[in-house]
């Protein structure tokens, strides 16, 4: 690519690393963890946190980093910061660390505008590249997005993205359409978010034959970087070069203009990554290593990120206004109150509830004090997660525009459009992170929020990120993959257990699936449709289960077919969910309350 190269970092010898300090500079909190070599393997040993100091009066992110590192150092009995406020490197027996790495989402993260010629093709590929790099996509501009050109120009003027990614056309194809997109962006004279003192970074990753024409349109009005086409042919995506360019520009332009980041970048021994980009890295690493399909979710105050790796294909979506505090009001507006209230087993006054939701929005740091308040927040979270997953499934599809051979079977199945890559029946591991999931007082609450929102099918393992260290491990995977994997498996994940859920629907009380457990659980019986069953199975324990679903129900081998599997325990154990897929609740409010109360009782959700 053209433009200023990122500061080159010294090559790191992974074998020489004994002590690693990693931070994640979030919008409100800077979280630091210490990873140490213990008995030949790597373990996460201590953690500390401090308020992020991007805002006035401190206005220097490194102050928060030093505070968080100092706290970790005090807990570890290891001096990580010297008297001059400098990180002590390299380590010796008592002091310092060997490398320091960091992620950042402070200041609202990385916000991008992307553009392509056809929204569903190059537009979608550009969106995938931006999301995969950890950005929030503010809008997707395309020749066929149904807006008139002047409306598109006005939209670009109204937004203040950190950078713009332009794609369009396959290599060797027509050039005029992608030039047309550039001709909409150039006259809009987009202004970067952090002040007007530098030019807007624009990445061009479209038809290589149009690159010089696009450069001609932008002239010197923007900071243009030209990289390989992200969709060189209809059948192939090549997102790597665009993602790398986004990361480089994130460091050179966006981060460099945030308070204290120049210093932070100089401190870090590996390039600073946007937080969600780092989470994506670690999930891809584990999916690849264990050859499994994974879905991860991080629900925050403002946004919900969903990550998936299915058959090696990675996708990430950010639901920008689905969150538990800043955006809680939007969740209620999008999901509607009746949908949220179906999870609440008591009567509520709607007017009071609406005011409570708004009060949480304007005072986002408050926590539920009463049991009723907790139940309501967990109900909201189910709907926020459900909506975020719906968006993710719609987005995670195969490449559009590729000619496919259709069989007679497809024609009979009436399959139209692009099928989602997400298949809940083939999902192996569902990982939860984010305040409402991580801080739930009972582990079973986290498990049930995941099950109710994501509706896993067949056999699915459930886990949560213990202290939200996936971002740290994502950066570590870049410099020391083995250390990252060791810590991920030993210290990062808390396994909640396994969910067994037959796919299909029926009438309440009708036979759904016979089961026979051996090993860690010794029981057999038949689950009736509508039932929820729960057995303890501890962390590290396993059991073998033989499932014989009734006609019309599928647990992994096809409708009505016997299925045998080894299942893993956890802090919750095994939840047998015979409530049906898709999961439906009674329409009648009274009946719904009774039903939810009964399910809650079975799994001991609340005191």
């Amino acid at each position: 690519m053209t433009g200023v190269p990122a500061t080159p970092k010294k090559p790191i010898d992974p074998e020489s690393l004994n002590v690693i300090l990693a931070t994640d500079c979030g919008s409100t909190t800077t979280k630091a963890i210490l990873i140490e070599k213990v008995g030949g393997g790597y373990r996460q040993t201590y953690r500390g946190e401090a308020p992020t100091t991007v805002e006035e009066p401190a206005a220097d992110v490194t102050i928060g980093v030093i505070n968080a590192a100092t706290e970790v150092g005090e807990l570890a009995g290891r001096k990580l910061v010297d008297e001059n406020g400098v990180l002590v490197r390299p380590s010796n027996d008592r002091d310092g660390c060997d490398i320091y790495i960091s992620t950042s989402s402070a200041g609202g993260g990385l916000q991008m505008l992307v553009a392509g010629v056809v929204r569903e093709m190059t537009g979608a590929s550009a969106q995938r590249a931006a999301l995969g790099a950890g950005a929030i996509v503010m809008d997707v501009l395309a020749s066929n997005d149904k807006r008139k050109p002047h409306e598109q120009i006005q939209r670009i003027r109204d937004l203040r993205p950190d950078m713009i990614l332009v794609s369009g056309g396959t290599d060797g194809g027509t050039t005029s359409h992608v030039v047309q997109i550039a001709e909409l962006i150039a006259p809009a004279k987009p202004q970067p978010r952090f002040g007007g003192q530098y030019r807007m970074p624009v990445i061009y990753a479209g038809n290589k034959d149009a690159a010089h024409l696009v450069a001609d349109v932008f002239k010197n009005q923007v900071e243009l970087s030209i990289v390989d086409n992200l969709r060189p042919t209809m059948e192939r995506e090549n997102l790597g070069p665009a993602r790398d360019a986004i990361h480089d520009l994130f460091l050179e332009h966006v981060m460099a203009h945030a308070p204290g980041y120049e210093k932070l970048m100089a401190w870090a021994d590996a390039p600073i990554m946007p937080t969600p980009g780092a989470v994506g890295e670690i999930l891809q690493t584990i999916a690849k290593q264990d050859n499994i399909n994974v879905v991860g979710v991080d629900i925050g105050g403002a946004t919900t990120d969903v990550f998936s790796v299915f058959d090696g294909a990675f996708n990430r979506t950010v639901s920008a206004n689905l969150g538990m505090s800043y955006s809680i009001s939007n969740v209620c507006a999008e999901a509607t109150l009746p949908k949220i209230l179906r999870w609440v087993p008591f009567d509520c006054d709607e007017r009071e509830l609406r005011n409570r939701v708004k009060n949480k929005m304007i005072r986002p740091t408050t926590i539920p004090q009463t049991l009723d308040a907790l139940m309501f927040e967990q109900a909201v979270s189910r709907e926020a997660l459900r909506l975020a997953y719906v968006q993710h499934r719609q987005f995670a599809v195969g490449l559009s525009g590729v000619q496919k051979q259709r069989t007679v079977g497809d024609a009979f199945a009436q399959q139209t459009g692009d099928a989602s890559l997400i298949d809940n029946m083939r999902l192996d591991l569902l990982v939860a992170s984010g305040g409402v999931l991580s801080h739930a007082p009972r582990m079973v609450q986290t498990a049930m929020m995941l099950i109710d929102a994501f509706e896993p099918e067949g056999i699915t393992r459930l886990a949560k990120d213990s202290i939200f260290m996936m971002p740290h491990l994502g950066v570590l995977a870049q410099v020391h993959p083995r250390a990252a994997m060791e810590v991920f498996q030993r210290d990062c994940l808390i396994y909640l257990g396994t969910c067994i859920a037959p796919k299909g629907t029926g009438k309440p009380g009708q036979p759904c699936c016979k089961y026979q457990f051996t090993g860690g659980i010794q029981t057999q019986g038949e689950a009736k449709f509508g039932e929820l069953l729960h057995w303890p199975l501890g962390v590290g324990e396993t059991a073998t289960v033989v499932l014989e679903p009734s006609r019309g129900f599928d647990v992994g081998s096809g409708p009505g077919k016997r299925h045998e599997a080894t299942i893993h325990g956890g802090t919750v154990g095994v939840i047998f969910d015979a409530r049906g897929r898709a999961l439906t609740l009674p329409d009648n409010r009274q009946a719904c309350q009774q039903q939810v109360q009964q399910w809650n009782k079975v799994v001991e959700m609340y005191p």
């Binding site: 009001s329 009071e352 609406r354 409570r356 009463t370 308040a373």
Partner: protein, 374 residues
């Protein structure tokens, strides 16, 4: 002594206030350092490039983009008017000729030989920045704006709607627990900053809009009323651009909630004085709360004695409980236990015990109290 950190809203009878007033893009600054300025005075100005209107001339004319040049009647830099013919094709034997007219007035900024697209740039849009605070220019930021400083009474609200407004302080409620309903609004309130008490009703806001009231400041509002007034449900608390004819500032929160006595008394002390208000609220990174600034050289009320540092939650500090079951109650910090306590929700959290103004002492999570900053 046990202490903690918790953010709070400023309610102070007098402080030295500093406003940084800048243009969105570079422009001309009209004031010099040391100058005395009035709140509504324009201190900096710039022109944003006008709206750009794209016209695909080649497509409309039905000619290839590469051949467009010979059909054009205008060139880059020319001024065009609405309906002016900008390109013409000759047609067969002089018949069936077609022409393209400009849909807008402006200057031809570019004509693409690749796509045949013409961009017409409209008149520049003027952007002005006012002083906002009556005071002294203490620093000029070349081509950007200026810093204005003055002594002022400052009150931050929790949530607002609408942008900057100016007017005279005019209370209409005699106690902070009185609702601000339409009966309290009289015809002489045009251009004034109306101070209420407890909840403002939808009827009162509708009437205030009709009367031309500059701003309404009160304790609470109902979410349902806000939705009716805005015409949509507010999803995230990023406001300031609403165009509803007035600015609304809520000091406490949503629901039936009385304005804190301290805020109410302070506003009443400044009856008849001119103030600047801004409803802009942003509750995300870079928090912005709505504010009321009343310039005054000397405090009309004795400032509250504050020995603690800003943001420090210490025994004796005045606080407001900001979550149910005691939402809205005011009191002072009684104790700050260092060990986390088990809440009714079964969560473990660090707590504070608060002696409420009604006499009772309650235990609440530290995250659920807000300091009242003096």
């Amino acid at each position: 002594m046990a202490q903690g950190y918790t953010p709070g809203l400023k309610v102070t009878p007098w402080t030295h206030w500093r406003c940084r007033r800048v243009l969105p893009i570079p422009g001309e600054v009209r004031v010099a350092a040391g100058a005395k300025v009035q709140a509504e005075e324009v201190i900096a100005e710039t022109a944003m490039p006008g709206d750009a209107t794209p016209v695909n001339v080649a497509k409309l004319l039905g000619v290839p983009a590469g051949e467009l040049a010979k059909h054009l009647l205008i060139k880059v830099g020319d001024t065009v008017t609405v309906g002016q013919v900008v390109a013409q094709s000759k047609g067969l034997f002089g018949l069936f000729s077609s022409e393209v007219k400009s849909p807008v007035a402006g200057t031809v900024e570019s004509i693409s030989t690749v796509t045949g697209m013409m961009i017409v740039r409209g008149e520049p849009l003027r952007v002005q920045v006012r002083a906002y605070l009556t005071g002294t220019v203490t620093e000029v930021l070349p081509r950007e704006g200026a810093v204005i400083e003055a002594g002022a009474a400052v009150i931050q609200g929790i949530f607002g709607i609408g942008g900057e407004a100016y007017g005279v302080i005019h209370p209409v409620c005699s106690a902070p627990d009185q609702d601000l309903n339409e009966d309290r609004l009289t015809d002489d309130l045009r251009g004034k900053i109306v101070i209420g008490g407890q909840r403002v009703t939808q009827g009162a806001i509708r009437k205030a809009q009709q009367l031309g009231v500059a701003a309404v400041v009160t304790g609470g509002i109902d979410d349902q009323d806000l939705r009716e007034i805005l015409g949509y449900d507010l999803g995230v608390a990023i406001t300031g651009h609403e165009n509803i004819g007035l600015t609304i500032i809520i000091t406490e929160g949503f629901g039936d909630i009385a304005m804190a006595h301290r805020t109410f008394d302070l506003l009443r002390r400044h009856v008849g004085q001119r103030a600047s208000v801004n409803g802009t609220t942003q509750i995300r990174a870079g928090v912005l709360r709505p504010e009321i600034l009343i310039p005054c050289e000397t405090p009309l009320m004795k400032p509250h004695e504050q020995t603690r540092e800003e943001g420090q939650l210490v025994v004796g500090a005045p606080v407001r409980v900001i979550r149910e079951p005691e939402f809205g109650s005011l009191g002072t910090v009684a104790t700050l236990p260092s060990e986390p306590a088990l809440l009714a929700s079964e969560s473990k959290a660090r707590v504070v015990t608060v002696k409420l103004s009604r006499g009772e002492t309650v235990t609440v999570p530290r995250a659920n109290v807000e300091l009242i900053e003096g």
